[in-house]
Symmetry: C2
């Protein structure tokens, strides 16, 4: 039985999360399936950021470090993120960029292994991990004379052995949307004696994550994707309490000092997660991040991440079904796992040719997804249950059908590649 | 001959830079002498940041990486900063925090020395350097098995010898306002075979700096002090072109890759200064930074940094003279050099007791400076010629006189220390 537009409207009508859509300002005529790259604008953000600019900065000036709570922001927002990913209170900080936080936690993990098991000198990761994660790992390996071993997902966990210091994985793959079983992978890595660092860039706010339940060691993630924190919003870092006090990371700036206002010239790391802070944080961007976190916590009274996850799977199921029903014969493949337990909150389609142009033609029609080059090329569509509806999903597929059926994507204007897509 | 309030008003009346004050929104009744800690709000910033929030983020969404020029911001703003500190085009990036940028350039400098002169295994710095700089240096020394040697200013440059890899100095001392002769110190360090890293946190936008003229090797600095970029604004990094392509730094994130959108899994650093970028930057805070840079470049048509420096010295001369004329007998000392060539854009007073409470009493009166604990304790007053006038300076000293003469600072409410001041 095929799904109709009416069916989709009925699904929206009985969706308990539907009111959350009003928490966002979305451009007229846009179906936004790129919240996995940059979350949209929370409706509350313009006023809140304006207040930070005019009142906190403009009127409070330097006094706002105390009076507006700037100093507490990294830990306060960290806790609000932690609550979305199964962290305990006081275990997470919002700060710096994802890449820099990965450097910190990977440094800390390697220091632990260097002390406890110095013969373990390999970082294992997935060949298709997000490139910047691999660059950071490559950099640390170069600094410390270690080896970075890249394998395919199916070679895990066998690749984790007595030489492995750290297994570093992204929970949900950025290209395919495939999701690891965090608890099972962590358990296997621990059994092999390795520590595990998880990148939650495509998980936090998108799927249920239980860092403490999975007994993970370290995690980092992104503030501007599913957390809706605004362009380049500060990222986050989490460390299991069993490691937090034990080791040091080399980005040892003033904000991680045990007594940051004593201005002593020797470094004494703060207790716990605060030692993963470094320099002064961008307060205006941090303020916008809080508005993004508000949108996620607004779902708490509707069932929180569990309810968001349920709707996300319904949306991605629907998208896959509609593409297969309505776009058959146009050479599209599915890169994303069908199995719920292995799927993140995105659907990635493949096509031998034209993937870039098809994405451009869709964007011109107001359906914003993105393109990721590779073998194969990927058409990537992120589904954020906070604001994407079932009717949106119908229309997105209908636009895709028309772009393909009418060969609209062959037009020259859709085939000029820009620097950034 | 003593200076009168009328004299100060006359100085303001004939100050060619006076109109620049209107570029800022300052709170009613405040004399702001803390722009060396956090610059005030540029009048253009609320609207510009609101546009970035509502239009670039809200309407442009992910497309704004191209259409709003987000991707170019670190290099574009870097060039605008570079023009204020004697850098050539394409040599500076605005990115990350001061501490993190110091880590990058110090790493690069140490890598150069490790290759060229491996027996040089000491970083030399000043004991009274800004603590976070020392923490970062301490961290890198620990990572690489090097030694951090701290000396007093008068022991320089004799402390730089055949064991020195890098001399790391802050150009203007945060506690005293004392300024190094950048060209002379750099020349002496080079003669001894060492590289020089300059922290311009209290120099950029405050005093004339000529990085190329001084033949410096590396520099970093702050976006939120004299550059008026807003709370926690991104910092900057500069590298002399002779080093930029040569070496690598370990914070090797996607934005420093030679082909950041090719998503290759091996790291190839970009040519030049771009390799000092790392992860995604906080765009809203970066947007505010540009408004801050606009205020400095607005001085270009009045003589630029040279004219700002001239007024800054006139203001600090006046402040010192007025304090000595009008606050004599109250136990104040002067920590800042009288000699123009050795003075930054701040005046630091000392007092054996009560410095904290005096600063609090002044703040309660609307004269915002800050307190820095130490031996001796410091009352610190920053003078930013863009918005501070001669009459302001008069009134600031008059408030100080009253606070001292009436022992107002002894009130209990001025003697309760907060976490952040």
């Amino acid at each position: 039985m095929t799904t109709t537009l009416q069916d989709c409207r009925a699904l929206d009508a009985r969706d308990p999360l539907r009111p959350l859509r009003d928490l966002f300002t979305l451009p007229e005529g846009v179906i936004y399936l790129d919240g996995n790259s940059l979350g949209p604008l929370p409706r509350a953000a313009p006023e809140r950021v304006a207040k930070a600019v005019r009142e906190e900065w403009g009127q409070g000036l330097i006094r706002s470090w105390n009076t507006a709570g700037w100093y507490e922001l990294p830990r306060r927002l960290g806790d609000r993120i932690g609550a979305l990913v199964g962290a305990g209170a006081g275990e997470t900080v919002a700060t710096d960029s994802t890449s820099i936080n990965l450097f910190k936690v990977l440094s800390a993990a390697l220091s632990i292994t260097a002390a406890d098991a110095p013969s373990r000198r390999v970082i294992v990761s997935e060949r298709s991990n997000f490139p910047t994660d691999l660059y950071i790992a490559e950099g640390l390996c170069r600094e410390r004379g270690l080896e970075l071993r890249l394998v395919d997902a199916e070679e895990l966990p066998a690749a984790v052995d007595e030489r492995t210091a750290v297994l570093m994985l992204t929970h949900v793959n950025y290209r395919t949307g495939a999701m690891h079983d965090m608890a099972a992978v962590t358990r296997a890595a621990h059994a092999a004696g390795a520590l595990v660092v998880w990148d939650l860039a495509h998980s936090a706010g998108a799927v249920e994550v239980d860092l403490r339940g999975a007994d993970a060691d370290f995690a980092i993630g992104c503030g501007y994707k599913y957390l809706n924190g605004g362009p380049g919003a500060p990222a986050f870092a989490w460390v299991h309490p069993r490691h937090a006090d034990r080791f040091w990371q080399p980005l040892s700036g003033w904000w991680s000092h045990a007594a940051p206002f004593a201005f002593t010239h020797d470094y004494q790391p703060a207790a716990g997660i605060a030692r993963y802070l470094c320099g002064t944080q961008p307060i205006l961007s941090m303020t916008a991040l809080e508005c993004g976190l508000d949108t996620l916590h607004a779902a708490d009274r509707f069932g929180g991440m569990q309810a968001l996850r349920r709707k996300s799977l319904a949306l991605t199921d629907l998208f896959i079904a509609l593409v297969e029903e309505r776009c058959a014969g146009h050479g599209l493949g599915l890169a994303t796992p069908r199995e719920h337990a292995r799927r993140g909150s995105q659907v990635c389609l493949t096509r031998d040719t034209g993937a870039y142009a098809i994405v451009q033609a869709l964007i011109a029609r107001g359906v914003i997804g993105d393109f990721r080059a590779g073998r194969p090329d990927i058409l990537r569509f992120g589904f954020t249950p906070l604001y994407v509806g079932f009717e949106d999903t119908w229309h997105a597929v209908e636009h895709l059908r028309q772009v393909l059926a009418e060969e609209e994507w062959q037009r020259p204007e859709f085939n000029q590649q820009h620097a950034v897509t």
